[in-house]
Symmetry: C2
Subunit: 265 residues, 2 copies
Amino acid sequence: MIRVRLDIAYDGRDFAGWARQRELRTVQGVLEQMIANLVGAEGEITCAGRTDAGVHARGQVAHVDVIGWPADLDTWRLNRALPEDVRVLAITVVPNEFDARFSALWRRYTYLVSDSPIGPAPLDRGQVLQWGKELNLDAMNSASRMLLGEHDFTAYCKMREGASAVRELIDLRSERVGSDVVITVTADAFCHSMVRSLIGALLPVGDGRKPVTWPFEMLTSGIRGATVMPPYPLVLEEVGYPPDDQLLDRQLQTKQHRVLSEPDA
Amino acid sequence: MIRVRLDIAYDGRDFAGWARQRELRTVQGVLEQMIANLVGAEGEITCAGRTDAGVHARGQVAHVDVIGWPADLDTWRLNRALPEDVRVLAITVVPNEFDARFSALWRRYTYLVSDSPIGPAPLDRGQVLQWGKELNLDAMNSASRMLLGEHDFTAYCKMREGASAVRELIDLRSERVGSDVVITVTADAFCHSMVRSLIGALLPVGDGRKPVTWPFEMLTSGIRGATVMPPYPLVLEEVGYPPDDQLLDRQLQTKQHRVLSEPDA
């Protein structure tokens, strides 16, 4: 068996998320079907970030194990077999120690918000959240800095029973780009709905309805209190991995860390 | 009567172009209806660039004459009355010598093309032309430079009978921005389908099917030979005007120039 890495972009609008679901159109489902047709392997595809319904990707990473990859199956042929709303940007044979999910060092997402009284630019409106009040980015960034580092993010997660919510938030910042506000979120990993809950905590700070300390107080309370913001302005931008000789260590470390921290996190 | 300038952006997808048409949804129709409802005036709106069906705008400019503009009718209230795919970015009371169409010095458009074998990025695909062969931008830019200046662009226009096709092409250049090719076209004015015909002349030069001299030879021949490319990658970006004290001169000059050059251009 060889392991193949796929770098993937998609428009999440017409997908019921990444994860395969019976009877629903999903990114995993579409890609696995394509692999089955072109490679003749019924391999399961594992990704770095299992995006929710409506969430987009410009830099999703996945891996799949196959007996062999046809020599003439390049990105051009592969994309011809795919619908226009999902593209495979690169195909790379990787060491077996590369695990798209467990070898990842970090995931970076962006979230687009317009606080203009005019609303989002017409051509971008499907990918920008309209926020009715002007946002104070200094306040948002002060609130963000208090959340950085390793914490139990239970207050920002839709938890699976018994799972750990300990994550390291590496970067969280808001900046104006053109007429929009871009919020960038980077963490070693995210639990379910964590990005959109963080955004939901920052925006009421930005418009002055909540104090700058509110997101941090929620974090320490462990009680969910932020709105999970809608998915359409969210894009998985990039996933970071260590050099090849550290892929296995990273995998073991990620798995161990999660197991260890599960009971008492 | 006072004259009001409106700066306008729209997503052209669901409009049958700018110009009002019975029974069809047009930008002019939607805006005139809004003005009639909010200002109580049945004024005709005049724009700088009468975009075709499917063409977008980030910087359309228009003017309308009204008896008075309600003091509380700002962009926020005005946009609340408009559908999401058209926005009024600014409302400015201007001198009566300001004519959105005839006072304009230049119009700037952009056209987006992807020559990647992978095709356009999924999130941008509705606004990018997919071109199957790699584009040589040096060749395209050499061909473009030969077209600059004042010429009779009959070969690039769907002509109205008896109208002049003399225009000054101020800028025409192709550059890579991210994974796309952006073609920028600026002229004092454009005749019908001129931008999309120029694009249709440059792309076969870029992929090597036509010589660099082909677009210029077509120009001098006066015979239409380029495909009119599709509208969805085309955006009216900006319109330039002179200072207020030159608005009237410019208007007269534009009108005179067109009349003079009509019979024998």
